[in-house]
Amino acid sequence: MNSESEPESKQSAVPVDLRAELRRNLAAEFKSGLSSTAFNNEQQTALGELVEGGTVTPTQILEVLQT
């Protein structure tokens, strides 16, 4: 048995992708929602990147909004 190949087969399990799909949808919906607001392009990009990163603090959000 090739032990090196095992982790790949384990990690590529379909169900785990459902969580990734949710996160992708979330980032896409968020960016789409921002585009219909008065936020400027830089703010939209920065906020989108923060959400894509998965973790964000309140101060980071305010820093973007105050630019």
Partner: protein
């Protein structure tokens, strides 16, 4: 092929002082009455994966000592649970004292553990099903998000909500600062709200002395100069000095200091607790960078030393993620503290500046009052330095407001009243209007820049607050939509499963024609509403309104199983602990079909106290030709010091019989050890065989043969059946005459059999014949058990 659980061993753990549950990479059904140790096995699995047993923690468990509850009552050793794997012959282990799961350096096992779902997502206990159906929306949502492993999405939501709150607090501060600057005009009974309204008032005052209307601030100085030229020179210097002093004392001290001190203290307590729990705060940045780095790579070479990594990055990434989650709370509280300290430092600085202005008029004040103001300023400067040090990381147990500052407000009010009275008494009646006009215009001129700055800050804070609320709303909507998409996928699967159970025939069709999981909108913490359409007639409604308890049970089960199917990786464990309580016999067949058809790629451990349900599962496994994928165990009894004892081995015998073929018989070491040990132990107990005492109580077949059990069996049976001496001797020889095999079956984990198929068949038939003969002659304890 991926790793599968081969065996779970329990040492000194709850009701399992020394118990082994063999799985052999298969699914297992365990039958046992109440109090036979079934749930202890499930507790052990939870402890192994999570390091604790959830039902001993949290709300309503205050009287339970969780560590005490994990120990066996005899306390002969440290509680521990081990999970052995196949095909990789190694184990993971967790003991009560170890903070982390002990994982061997084998990639396959590491990956099994790191990619395995959390316990909430693979262990379902009976009590959880109806709890979930009956819970409040908010609790249901929280549990479900945890079950789905999506707490990070809610953490994002919380950050957006807190950003809105932070912006609101900053807006309140800006509003208060502006209000304080405008307050100097309230002494004359007038309350301006903007800088423009002050200019308009200045214009009114000027017109009283025949000046044209003022349209900008540049016009103010010439008006003041012209008015000053009309003053009486004898009192001008004194009135000007009093005017400056009054203007200084009219300015208010910053408000909200006490509230900020209380908030800082509250955060300080939380931070102290968090810092005590983790000294890795400084490493947060490194951990974040590590996650980004390792998540974006699949290589198996260390980026620093360029040496090959045996296990790749999965394990490192998992550990980093766990630590990152713990540090998020610490970071958030540090941020809050920093923000509060910022506000506090600003307000203390403002206080100190105000007092410095007050002291410019010290020649007008009594010596005691001068000293009080100087002391207060010294205290504010000292406090300012202390707060700065705390912000830089200097440890502080408590942030106390200096007592000298607490009485400052009343002191300044008194001085203002005294100075105003002196000014009034100094000015002759006929020049009062002129002096008051000059004083007002000077006040407007001095306060103008500060009010303008306050208005700018207020406008900025208003915009930031509106933006923060907008960003929060946009994120909330995005979160609701994306989670709702997942909920709809789950709801579709739940309905599919529910119909499998209830769309049986023309006599019974599923009364739930539609099922909806709806996230409660806009709630910061979120909520989850579960509604079903009942026969398409009464619209969407809470299922508790019309479903029977049995149907609610099966709905809850479907909900859990749908989530497992959609979210959990195949070949991981799925534990169902006595989950069929009020589901009737007919529907149990359907549940069994659901389990066999939909979850064949999971390794299931199912416990039950219900003989009928056990029988259904066993029959179905047989009918589907899946007996080789399942193990059926019965726990006959449980004793305080011995734990659970396995009962009859019908299913083991069936398994042995069906595997006595050239292709399969070599894998029969484990089952043969079980049936042989069971036979020898029960005979030894019945005939009171003397066996060398073993401290750990783990007697093997070899211990009995060394004690001559074969001779005793032969002697006893011949005495009971003298006419069958030859047959008895032959059967005893078939079993005990194969020394190598007996030795082999004395090991805990026999590997592949190293005897021929004929020898194995001979052994099996001899053992079966001896068992039957001992039963017939009452030479075996617990016949039928």
């Amino acid at each position: 092929m991926s790793e599968q659980a081969r065996e779970i061993r329990f040492e000194h753990f709850r009701g399992l002082p020394n118990y082994s549950c063999e799985l052999k990479g298969k699914s297992v059904v365990i039958l046992g009455g109440n109090g036979k140790g079934k749930s202890g096995i499930v507790d052990g699995i939870e402890f192994l994966f999570a390091g604790k047993i959830g039902r001993f923690h949290g709300e309503g468990t205050g009287g339970i000592d969780a560590e005490e509850a994990i120990q066996h009552i005899d306390k002969n050793g440290e509680p521990a649970v081990e999970l052995y794997f196949t095909p990789t012959n190694d184990k993971v282990r967790r003991a009560l004292s170890s903070s982390e799961l002990e994982i061997p350096a084998k990639p396959a096992i590491k990956n099994y553990i790191t990619s395995h779902p959390p316990v909430e997502s693979f262990i379902l206990r009976r009590g959880q099903i109806l709890n979930f159906i009956s819970d409040q929306d908010a609790n249901r949502y929280r549990k479900y998000i945890q079950l789905l492993g999506l707490t990070d999405v809610d953490n994002l939501q919380r950050s957006f909500v807190e950003a809105g709150q932070l912006a609101e607090a900053q807006l309140a501060t800006a509003r208060q600062a502006l209000s304080n600057e405008l307050a100097v005009f309230r002494e004359s009974g007038w309350a301006p709200t903007t800088l423009d309204s002050i200019l308009a008032r200045c214009s009114d005052v000027s017109r009283e002395f025949d000046f044209p209307e003022l349209v900008n601030w540049d016009q103010l100085n010439p008006v003041i100069a012209s008015l000053e030229s009309r003053r009486s020179p004898e009192i001008t210097a004194q009135v000007d000095e009093l005017n400056r002093a009054i203007l200084s004392f009219e300015r208010r001290l910053p408000s909200g200091v006490a509230g900020l001190v209380a908030e800082a203290d509250e955060i300080q307590i939380v931070l102290t607790a968090l810092c005590d729990a983790s000294d890795e705060a400084a490493a947060a940045g490194i951990i974040r960078e590590g996650i980004t780095f390792f998540a974006s790579r699949e290589a198996s070479v260390c980026p620093l030393c360029e040496r090959s990594l045996d296990e790749g990055y999965a394990d490192v990434l998992e550990k980093l993620n766990t630590r990152n989650e713990a540090l998020t709370q610490l970071r958030n509280n540090e941020e809050r503290m920093n923000h509060v300290l910022d506000l506090l430092i600003t307000k203390v600085q403002q206080t100190s500046d105000l007092l410095a202005d007050d002291l410019k008029s010290d020649s007008l004040l009594a010596a005691d009052d001068q000293q009080s103001l100087r002391d207060a300023r010294a205290s504010s400067l000292k406090w300012w330095r202390l707060l700065k040090r705390i912000q830089r990381g200097h440890p502080a147990h408590q942030i106390l407001c200096p007592t000298r500052l607490e009485s400052l407000w009343s002191l300044r009010r008194r001085l203002l009243t005294e100075l105003t009275a002196r000014r009034t008494s100094l000015i002759p009646d006929n020049t009062t209007q002129l002096e008051n006009a000059i004083a007002f215009l000077e006040k407007a001129k001095n306060s103008g820049p500060r009010i303008k700055s306050g208005e700018t800050e207020f406008t900025k804070a208003t915009k930031t607050s509106a933006n923060a609320n907008k960003a929060r709303d946009v994120f909330s909507t995005a979160r609701e939509k994306s989670i709702q998409l997942i909920f709809e996928r789950i709801a579709g699967k739940v309905l599919e499963y529910y119909k499998k159970l209830h769309d049986i025939n023309a006599d019974e069709t599923s009364e739930c024609t539609q099922l909806v999981l709806t996230a409660t909108p806009r709630a910061a913490a979120g909520g989850l509403r579960l509604v079903v359409e009942f026969l398409g007639l009464v619209g969407s409604s809470d299922p508790r309104a019309f479903l029977s308890e049995g149907h609610l049970d099966s709905l809850g089960l479907c909900l859990y199983l749908a989530t497992v199917r959609l979210f959990n990786p195949p070949e991981t464990l799925l534990v169902l602990d006595d989950v069929l309580t009020s589901i009737d016999k007919e529907h149990r067949h359907r549940v069994a079909e659901l389990v066999f058809e939909e979850f064949a790629d999971f390794q299931i451990l199912l416990t039950t106290h219900d003989e009928h349900w056990f029988g259904i599962l066993q029959t179905m496994a047989q009918a589907r030709g899946d007996l080789d994928k399942w193990i059926f165990k019965r726990i006959a009894r449980w004793t305080l010091h011995g734990g659970p004892e396995s009962a009859s081995f019908e299913s083991t015998w069936s398994f042995i019989d069906s595997n006595l073929t050239e292709d399969a018989y070599r894998e029969l070491g484990g089952p043969l050890r079980l049936v042989l040990e069971d036979f020898l132990k029960r005979v030894a107990a019945k005939i009171s065989l003397k066996v060398n005492y073993k401290f750990d109580g783990k007697y093997t077949s070899g211990d009995f043969t060394v004690s001559g059990i074969q001779n005793e069996i032969r002697k006893e049976l011949i005495a009971k059946c003298p006419g069958e001496e030859e047959v008895i001797k032959r059967d005893v020889g078939r079993v005990f005459g194969q020394g190598d095999l007996i030795n082999f079956l004395s090991h805990d984990n026999p590997g592949r059999l190293e005897v021929t198929l004929e020898q194995t068949i001979d052994f099996v038939s001899g053992l079966r014949a001896l068992t039957r003969r001992c039963q017939d002659n009452q030479l075996i304890k617990g016949v039928g058990a």
